[in-house]
Symmetry: C2
Subunit: 205 residues, 2 copies
């Protein structure tokens, strides 16, 4: 599949650019509304005094997330993917050209809300966080094996709703471990800041 191959080469170029500037890039992926933006904002609140941060956000349309991040005083670039269900490496390259890379340490790349397509299109990042929500039910991990295979950190979010959902979060942890034994799994309530320090620690930040 030459589209996949071409994307991979562009992703490697992005990675070289980031490494030249000493910038760490972190993918944040997950289904629509799982808590990606909430997580990024919570991380930024804690880290923006120690690191110079920017966020690249992909959505089909609108600048809702990007505007929210700008309100936090964090640089943000919005990428609109139109009908494409994932960001690709060429879009990230263009976004990097809009940022002043010499003045950044850390870039979060929030992908389009989708648990399938982003797994096929690496962007050149150093780490990948996947955010699932307990509200998605018990089979989220089993049904989407490819998304979890390359995850460094998996966040099980909205744990405040675990009881109402009657979903066993320990079973979800097992499902993740059976696909990817080296993934760091953190149970969180991102909206309330619970679990954020563990995620920052897992990122070595």
């Amino acid at each position: 599949e030459s589209i996949i191959r071409r994307n991979m080469l562009l992703a490697e170029e992005n990675r070289r650019i980031l490494d030249n500037y000493g910038i760490k890039a972190i993918d944040v992926m997950g289904a629509t509304g799982s808590g990606k933006t909430t997580l990024i904002i919570q991380i930024c609140k804690r880290l923006k005094d120690r690191y110079r941060i920017a966020v690249i956000k992909g959505d089909l349309t609108s600048s809702i997330d990007s505007d929210m991040i700008l309100k936090e005083g964090v640089k943000s670039v919005q990428v609109n993917t139109g009908r494409e269900c994932h960001l690709d490496a060429s879009q990230i390259r263009k976004a990097l050209e809009k940022l002043e890379l010499s003045s950044l340490d850390l870039i979060f790349i929030e992908n389009v809300g989708n648990l399938i397509c982003p797994a096929e299109f690496p962007l050149g990042s150093h780490k990948r966080i996947v955010v699932i929500s307990i509200t998605e039910g018990p089979y989220t991990v089993i049904k989407h094996p490819f998304m979890f295979m390359d995850a460094d950190i998996v966040v099980i979010n909205k744990m405040d709703l675990a009881e109402a959902m009657k979903v066993d979060s320990d079973k979800l942890v097992q499902d993740i471990r059976s696909i990817n034994p080296r993934a760091n799994v953190v149970k969180a309530i991102c909206r309330d800041g619970i679990g954020i320090d563990d995620i920052i620690h897992a990122l070595n930040l």
Copy 2:
């Protein structure tokens, strides 16, 4: 885009086959874990004495949903899409060939859990239901306009969690109406059977 065009022709063929047998086919779409299977099972409980029903389910892998439906005494065909983020018309054609069409009145087609890709690939159905969950947050509709443009019914599910999520369901209804004024919107708690009769009524069943 010749893949899209070819799919459209196959979808029209599927539609002719269904019409020849007098079978109504209903798409059920929505993000991962929004409540599609729960909705279908609740509808089947109420309708299986009046209609002969089958369900075609698409998932990347596994037969979890199909097995659940079979447990309800309803015929089910599982389609595994591999790395594809949506069902396509050729897969539905093969699934139809596995069913005894002369002994069916109604087919539900539950798509892969994804709010983007299925909108691009019509399957030949008569009606489309889109299930969103209040737990996905306030921007689900605005961020995915294409999915709602052709919806006949939109179900806002998991209303039992609306208060905990602090999401305004009336604003979601407005968002749907501004994209698609003719869509029938039903607030539901599928797990508890609330809203199901309204959905059945909206389907003219």
